[in-house]
């Protein structure tokens, strides 16, 4: 193959990848556009006119901001619990040899391999049969969210731990650090990006979940449930404001982290 041919080949796949990324972002552009929409009718799927109104009064549709706040609270608490428990499990899975390790692996993988409708309905079956059917709400949603985030945390942190050079820890031990010091000064800082990624993933999974939440929420309304409810009636453009804001926030966080990482790397060099 000629050089030119190879150049095209190399950039063809990059171009294809970028096209797929564009597909991933197509609806987001629509969400952004629609956040400035001034709909003529209530059930409007077209862009009728430009306005700043929705961004100035994001809480106008009744119940929207309450729902967002419920989702944020559940997301934060679920993330903290799931990240803590999942990280401990990941350490046990990678760093310890024990009986039943492969069975535990399967046990952790199973919740990820179950359709959400099955996870949600089985939890509901448990809550109903143990007499909590009338007390569905914040706590039952929280329990459900921790449950389905847990496996994703374990897998993410595990991936980071597995890729880590254990010779660094051995070196620390050789330099007379005890296990505790080695953990906090070497292991933890090295695993931290993995833990952070797992936490970010947990939060996004929790904030976004609808199917499991909807079955176990009782009368509590989370943000996705609010969106679902309004999709049956009218779709207030403020929903798109929240969607856009969350997206931009995530983007700023991730790009900021990347920039900080690059600056740090440049300094080390």
């Amino acid at each position: 193959m000629t050089r030119v041919g190879r150049w095209i080949g190399r950039h063809l796949i990059l171009f294809a990848g970028l096209l797929v990324l564009l597909y991933l972002f197509a609806p987001i552009f629509v969400v952004m556009l629609m956040s400035f929409n001034e709909p003529k009718s209530k059930l409007s799927y077209t862009f009728d006119g430009f306005t700043w109104e929705n961004w100035q009064h994001p809480c106008r549709p009744s119940g929207l901001c309450e729902a967002v706040s419920v989702s944020l609270r559940i997301g934060l608490v679920a993330t903290v619990i799931a990240t803590a428990l999942g990280t401990l499990m990941a350490f046990a899975m990678v760093r310890r040899r024990f009986r039943g390790r492969s069975a535990t692996n399967l046990f952790i993988f199973l919740p990820m391999a179950s359709p959400e409708i099955v996870l949600g309905s089985s939890l509901l079956a448990l809550f109903v049969s143990s007499g909590f059917g009338g007390r569905l709400g914040f706590w039952t949603i929280l329990i459900a969210h921790v449950m389905f985030c847990l496996s994703f945390v374990v897998v993410t942190v595990k991936a980071r731990l597995t890729g880590m050079d254990s010779r660094l820890e051995q070196a620390a031990m050789d330099l007379y650090a005890n296990e505790w010091q080695t953990f906090w000064r070497i292991t933890f800082p090295l695993v931290f990006p993995g833990i952070l990624a797992a936490a970010l993933l947990s939060f996004s999974l929790s904030f976004d979940d609808f199917i499991i939440t909807n079955l176990n929420a009782g009368t509590t309304v989370t943000f996705p449930m609010f969106v679902w409810g309004s999709a049956q009636r009218d779709i207030p453009p403020q929903i798109n404001v929240i969607g856009t804001a969350m997206f931009l926030l995530a983007l700023v966080l991730v790009l900021g982290g990347e920039l900080a990482r690059r600056r740090r790397n440049a300094r080390v060099r």
Binding site: P27, A92, P111, I117, S121, S122, A125, D208
Partner: protein
């Protein structure tokens, strides 16, 4: 590392102690999964055998009604088959779209690797319901996608996208694509570049190198990705509800509707059947693809 204070090394802990810490580390998370994943599945199994004539108010009694399964399958065979078929299509499309993207990120993105990876996850933060609603708008009858397809005569003058199988599968593919890309990327990233170079050195063309080196080495990612796409797609009902019509109804729609209506035994029987079908398919598939290590 220079901050390390040299202190006498602690004695090597006993093997027994290390094993004990493993169980201690696993305990809290394991208990959570046991209580809120395993026990619920068991109670779902139980609920699927309850007396179908019970109600939430009166309570359900355990009558070992195995015929719940027969009835459920007889009544819901079509949405069931449709779910599996749509999930299969979705997985195929996700693999087709996801592989080039994962490949580009792993090998061609250079210093933009992390940014591109972040962009794959970023859409998660706009609620997937909102994104599905905006697909509804993109695919609507007077939207520009339909206009464009009509202009090049792929779609007839009275053709439409919304409320068709194509719309539902498009939405499903869209929603689960990141679950395909991430494991694919993880396994591609691990491949030793020298192996691919060796392919070139041995006069294999790029395509042959890909087929004989890259693709086989990325198989764990393909398996994990197809599972993480197929399984949620089979249980989804949001896309069918928002982008389809009752003709595109999937099994998730029925399970959700039955649970909401309080018909627990039938709904539970359907859930168990879905889970069983998936487990059987997955075991068969994993066996065939020869990948034992899943994650």
């Amino acid at each position: 590392m220079s901050a390390l204070v040299p202190v006498p090394a602690a004695g090597k802990p006993e093997r027994q102690g290390r094993r004990l810490t493993a169980y201690l580390l696993l305990l809290p998370g394991g208990l959570w999964l046991l209580l809120f994943f395993v026990v619920p599945i068991v109670s779902l199994l139980a609920a699927s055998l309850y007396d179908p004539d019970g109600s939430i108010e009166a309570g359900f009694s355990m009558t070992w009604s195995w015929h719940n399964y027969v009835d459920a399958l007889a009544d819901y065979a079509r949405p069931f088959g449709r779910s599996l078929w749509y999930a299969l299509l979705t997985t195929a499309f996700c693999l087709l779209l996801g592989y080039p993207l994962a490949y580009a990120i792993a090998f061609k993105a250079g210093r933009w690797k992390n940014v591109m990876l972040a962009l794959v996850i970023a859409p998660f933060f706009t609620s997937f319901l909102i994104r599905t609603l905006s697909w509804k708008m993109l695919l609507s009858d007077n939207g520009f996608v339909v206009d464009a397809l009509k202009a090049v005569h792929i779609l007839g003058s009275d053709g439409r996208l919304l409320a068709t199988t194509a719309a539902v599968v498009t939405g499903l593919t869209y929603n689960f694509l990141p679950f395909m890309v991430l494991p694919l990327y993880a396994s591609l990233e691990k491949i030793d570049h020298r192996l691919i170079e060796a392919g070139g050195d041995l006069f294999a063309g790029p395509f042959t190198t890909f087929r004989t080196v890259t693709l086989p080495l990325s198989m764990p990612g393909v398996v994990a990705g197809t599972l993480l796409t197929f399984i949620p797609a089979a249980g989804d009902y949001i896309n069918a509800q928002l982008l389809g019509t009752p003709k595109q109804r999937m099994i998730g729609n029925d399970i959700q509707r039955l649970f909401a209506a309080g018909a627990y035994p039938t709904a539970a029987a359907l859930s168990v059947t879905l889970m069983a079908a998936i487990v059987v398919l997955v075991l068969f598939y994993v066996r065939r693809s020869g990948t034992e290590e899943l994650v």
